[in-house]
């Protein structure tokens, strides 16, 4: 049995709510930036950040533990492919939240992805994202690095997207043509054409690459401008590894390398603004504790969140570790999520936008029971 008091930081099961008498900004002129990396498909948190100090890990998983995880503390290690992220941890610029999830136990990708973006308990109940609503309250702008505008960022008054085209014999549309098209449309569509027009006037260079690393570089470049967006959203798909997930090497480890590269690229391209930034991952659910019959893992519950950025002062692994014994598992198969990941998102919003926790849980997550975790992550 593990001693729960062993690790760096422990989130007590019942946190005292911080008072929220005054709605508004806690600090004046916080100029922070938030970058969300959506890990689509459900990241295996136990493979990314294995609890190597928990003997039950090796009883439950025969193969799916990396051979040489980097030891973080007596309980947790991190997959060796997280090279940049490990460096950030060492420099007190990163933290890990373990045994966490958005409040969803249904194991459907599509409901889970919806909840991880809207930040409410009931899937498909609104058409705006938690980040979009936070941006709306804080009156700030953002950019999605994808062809579409993800639900996560919708609801903000000002955002656009970036994903360069590659169609031969075409060029960027001219502004007079755009004006004509715009004027034939109704208000909502008009605004999107207007944003396209504005993005053309900024005259950004024709970068063609659309892989997550290039998009991360582009996001950092845009965000470090004084009038640039303060929010960016990136997506890394294909985490849904039901077969041959890989342990030390393989598909999931390759995705860790990619994710790690994105962290590295963001730090590089944000330059000075890195110190005011927080990067966080989201995923719709974790994966089963045991491997399935095809060296993969199926849809589960609790997973891990990775955070990095200059807004963090002290690296830590924040967890209220539920254990991995059969008895401790959610429905006898999944890692229990003991931290509502929305409390982590709320802390990031508080740190980057300077909004009061009470205002965030009221206006953004619409759930007054969300605990304040700010001091565990940014304190």
């Amino acid at each position: 049995m593990i001693n729960r008091r062993h690790f760096l930081k422990v989130l007590p099961p019942a946190l005292a709510l911080s008072g929220y008498p005054v709605h508004g900004f806690t600090k004046n002129a916080v100029d922070g930036r938030i970058i969300v990396i959506m890990l689509q498909g459900g990241m295996d948190g136990l493979l990314a950040v294995p609890p190597i100090g928990d003997d039950d890990l090796f009883k439950q998983r025969r193969a799916l533990v990396a051979a040489n995880p980097l030891k973080l503390n007596p309980l947790f290690g991190i997959h060796p492919n997280f090279k940049n992220f490990s460096r950030l941890l060492k420099n007190n610029e990163a933290s890990i939240i373990h045994a966490t999830s958005f409040p969803y136990t249904g194991r459907s990708h599509f409901e889970g992805q919806n909840i991880s973006q809207i930040g409410l308990k009931k899937a498909f109940s609104v058409d705006t994202g938690w980040l979009g609503r936070a941006m709306d309250v804080a009156k700030i702008t953002g950019k999605a690095m994808s062809l579409d505008a993800p639900l996560l960022i919708r609801g903000a008054t000002e955002f656009d997207n970036f994903y360069p085209a590659s169609i031969s014999n075409t060029s960027k549309p001219k502004n007079d043509l755009l004006d004509l098209i715009k004027n034939s449309h109704d208000q909502d569509m008009m605004e999107t054409f207007e944003k396209l027009s504005q993005s053309l006037m900024q005259g950004s260079n024709e970068l063609r690459a659309r892989d997550p690393l290039s998009l991360a570089a582009k996001a950092g470049e845009a965000m470090r401008q004084s009038d640039g967006p303060r929010v960016a959203v990136l997506t890394i798909p294909e985490f849904d590894d039901h077969s041959s997930i890989g342990s030390t090497t393989g598909h999931h480890p390759d995705l860790f390398t990619l994710l790690d590269g994105v962290f590295g690229q963001l730090k590089k391209s944000l330059e000075e603004t890195w110190k005011d930034s927080i990067v966080l991952t989201t995923t719709e659910f974790g994966r089963t504790v045991q491997e399935n019959g095809s060296e993969g893992t199926d849809h589960g519950y609790g997973s891990v969140g990775l955070l990095a950025g200059g807004l963090i002062n002290q690296s830590s692994v924040v967890a209220n570790w539920p254990g991995l014994s059969n008895k401790a598992l959610f429905e006898k198969r999944d890692l229990y999520a003991t931290i509502d990941y929305r409390s982590v998102c709320a802390a990031c919003i508080e740190a980057a936008f300077g909004l009061d926790h009470g205002l965030i849980i009221d206006k953004v997550f619409q759930d007054k029971n969300i605990k304040r975790t700010y001091h565990h992550i940014f304190g």
Binding site: Q40, H109, D148, A165, S166, N169, K172, L180, I181, S243
Partner: protein, 492 residues
């Protein structure tokens, strides 16, 4: 009610080409649209679809097998890396088939007379998404779309569901090929050798959630597990299909007289299946392959399936804001005919004809409609008329039509999630999406359209506001682009 025939042909199909004879009686035209077999229209609408662009499923799997075998050989040969790559690329080009399928997809949409049937194929191909994340599944996605789906839209939903579920592409995409019963001989012998084997519930979960009853049914994790047990033993990994088939045959796990063609239709391997009875949603299923057929029938006939699919069809053809009464009409015929797709599709068309609700079109639907209604052409020809595709000197299709589908974010051959492409307008509205629309419109202008922007505006009864925008554009190209990117053509 859709009074304008041009609007109506776009509501349920891809519209009329300028050279088409516009039907005097739209109800007669509607009847003609309710066919349930593929029309094999030739490239650029001329003659018949070339024979050497058609491949049976058996041939596709054999071609993949040849490519895989050659590739492995070259990888082990002691030759320079450059030489290796060259040989592998040649082997791939000699055997690949998906670009032919992509050409059929464009060509049928742009020239097919069976335009409602083609739209239905797109709808069902999206409902039964099989992503093409690797080079291997691309060999058989076209077969799923045109042979399995396209040829089975006139029968029952149960029949379609069975054929799609057992298609090698679906069994591979949702990992069923890696699943074996916990108590099967296969799993036992694998574990004795220290190897991993057992159940994988990916297909099981999506069969319930996406393909049939949806989460509204409130099935349990145990139901999902038991569906996975019934599914265990079905399918072989696509890129190893022929090899594993031969191996299983020589090991005696597939009978000697079973041919590859027979096996593809019934890809069941007993020693991988889970023995014993299984209970799903309160109903018991005995062991053996018939359990899956019975399970599929049960799911296809479930009331929640009727509700789920009536709603999906209504949203796709009528619009996001379709009324509950409109959905109910489709649901009622579904129930009355036990999911007879010909009847369900007929009523969907009838409800669509009377609706006032508009649908924001998928970018691919919009693109094909624009090419079609403007009279632009698909394949470049010897008269140096430009198109989007080309038959190269070696007789093979080119990549660009596939690349364009990627660019507009709507590609049935791409890697994507099993819930398919969204039906929501908001998911297709972004600055980058609109940038693509404008670029595609400019490419269509370069593909020899027969109509000018003003003519399109006239035929399709654009608003005065849009007509004004077109008249203000300085060049005929800009007028054309404004017309194609108008609200009237994005939504119908």
């Amino acid at each position: 009610m859709y009074e304008n025939k041009f609007h109506w042909a776009r509501k349920i199909g891809f519209g009329f080409r300028p050279e088409n004879i516009i039907p005097s009686d739209i109800n007669e035209w509607n009847k003609e649209q309710l066919i349930s077999k593929n029309e094999e229209i030739g490239l650029n609408g001329k003659g018949e679809w070339p024979d050497d662009f058609n491949f049976s499923l058996e041939e596709r799997l054999n071609r993949l097998h040849v490519f895989m075998t050659k590739k492995e050989k070259y990888e082990n040969d002691k030759i320079s890396p450059d030489e290796k790559n060259k040989l592998i690329v040649t082997a791939r080009n000699e055997n690949r088939v998906h670009l032919h399928d992509v050409y059929k997809y464009w060509n049928n949409s742009i020239y097919g007379h069976d335009t409602y049937h083609q739209r239905l194929i797109h709808f069902w191909a999206n409902h039964f998404t099989v992503g093409g994340s690797n080079n291997f599944r691309n060999y058989i996605i076209g077969d799923l779309i045109y042979n399995t789906i396209g040829e089975n839209l006139g029968g029952s939903f149960s029949n379609l569901l069975q054929k799609v579920t057992l298609h090698p592409g679906m069994l591979d995409y949702l990992d069923n090929v890696f699943s074996s019963g916990e108590n099967s001989d296969f799993t036992k012998s694998m574990r004795e050798e220290g190897k991993t084997a057992g159940l994988n519930d990916n297909l099981s979960r999506e069969l319930l959630e996406l393909h049939t009853v949806s989460t509204a049914k409130e099935y349990s994790e145990k139901d999902i597990k038991n569906v996975a047990k019934i599914l265990a033993g079905w399918g072989l990994i696509v890129n190893l299909f022929v090899r594993e088939f031969n191996q299983e045959k020589s090991n005696g796990n597939i009978k000697r007289n079973v041919s590859l063609k027979d096996f593809i239709e019934n890809p069941y391997i007993k020693h991988r299946a889970e023995p014993g009875n299984k209970t799903v949603l309160g109903k018991s299923f005995s062991s053996g392959p018939s359990a899956l057929y019975k399970l599929i029938n049960m799911l296809a006939e479930d009331d929640q399936t009727a509700q789920h699919l009536s709603r999906k069809l209504a949203i796709h053809f009528i619009g996001e804001n379709v009324s509950e009464e409109e959905i109910k009409k489709i649901y009622k015929i579904w129930k009355a005919t036990n999911g007879d797709l010909a009847e369900v599709h007929r009523v969907t068309l009838e409800v669509a004809q009377r609706t006032k609700i508009k649908k924001f079109l998928w970018p691919s639907t919009w693109m094909f409609q624009c090419i079609r209604l403007s009279g632009a052409q698909f394949i470049s020809d010897k008269n140096r008329n430009n198109g989007f595709g080309e038959i190269q000197n070696n007789g093979l299709p080119k990549y660009e039509p596939l690349g364009i589908l990627d660019e507009i974010g709507h590609n049935f051959w791409s890697s994507r999630q099993p819930d398919g492409y969204s039906e929501k307008k908001q998911d297709w509205v972004s600055t980058e999406h609109f940038d693509r629309r404008i670029r595609i419109a400019s490419r269509i202008y370069g593909a020899n359209p027969l109509l000018a922007g003003e003519e399109i505006a006239e035929i399709h009864e654009f608003s005065d506001r849009t007509k004004m925008a077109i008249s203000l554009a300085k060049t005929s190209k800009d007028k054309f682009i404004v017309a194609l990117c108008s609200p009237e053509l994005m939504e119908v």
